[in-house]
Amino acid sequence: MTDLAVHLDGVSKSYPHFKLDDIQVKLETGGILGFIGANGAGKSTTIRILMGLVRQDGGAVEVLGHRMPDDQAAAKRDIGFASEDLRLYKTATVRWHMEFVRSIYPGWDPSYAELLLRRFDLRPEHKIKGLSHGQRVKAELLLVLARRPRLLVLDEPTTGLDPVARQEVLGELMEVLADERRTIFFSSQNTLDVEQISDQISFIDRGRIVDSGDKESFLERWRRVRLDVPPGVVLPSLPGTVSAVGSGRLSVVTTSRFDPAMTSAYQSAGATVHAVDTMTLEEIFVANVMSKREGNVA
């Protein structure tokens, strides 16, 4: 039996103007999953369902072995959740919040909390209302991390952070994963962050998972092939072709299932392959979403 920290199976939820449909997510213990989607794609709704804050219409949700939302009280002892929706008390200090969380969670680690204060460059005597956006995000993360939860669920932890703060946060998340019993599920619009630290990736768009898999095979499968296509030559249509655009003789084929045999297939059809380019996760995400929206099968 694989040890799944998070398992969403066929989860659906309908709202008047939005629908989550057949959401499948599997995340093994010790792994880190980056959940990528545009604004309004369904990331936060999925996370609310995962946390038991919203009851799904259909499908099963299991988190750390607990059925959600029914068993959420037990599950939440071991989950650290941070999202933009969570608000700290404006007139209270960082230290006050630390003591407050400590009084609730027995797992609070005071020395780790002090270490995080220094690493995140936070002053415990500062009131929340005086903090910048980045400091506030880091304070929230500190409150969650110092509990040492088995599962971290973070809704866009790096959005709005400057590059230095982003690296501080990403570094701290990687530190968490040094312990192989701990797991992270985080959503992001920033594909660079996800590309850097994720093992697993899921793309969501318009309430559906459009693709998911381990990051290396993602990066391996997708390629952009630049071709010279002489007049009269027709490119063979190969499986995995996501898009083929060209003007004049030059053509660019984007594929989600690259294989070196493709280049020979194009060449024997009479075209010349100029280059086979790797793609960044951002390019893959955009190509993927666009092609799915146009109704192509990748």
Binding site: E175, D199, Q200, D214, K215, E216, H274, A275
Partner: protein, 117 residues
Amino acid sequence: MYLQIMEQIKRKVAVGDWLPGDEIPSMRQLAVALRVSLITVKRAYLELDREGVIVTQHGKGSTVASAPDLRPRLYDEELAHHVEQVARLGSLLGIDADELASRIHDAAGRLKEELHD
């Protein structure tokens, strides 16, 4: 990204930071240290194992191979890369393979003369 990690590890072995038989960091340790995902490091170790640079024993971690044969390979890769660039530029400029070969021949000749001077 895994290619960069492979490159770094090869350099470490090439310059003698890591000696044959030395235990190298676990994948998880290296991932945390470099702040990159575990799966990227896994991929790099797998390829290095395949190339004979390191030996990974399941459950026991990884060590540098007893005779990692790196340097010629690093140069080989470099050469292969440049040859490909030459071929690509040649095709862009409409220079045929014989002409490319003769230019490389000339360049090699000039280098030889320089070395003799």
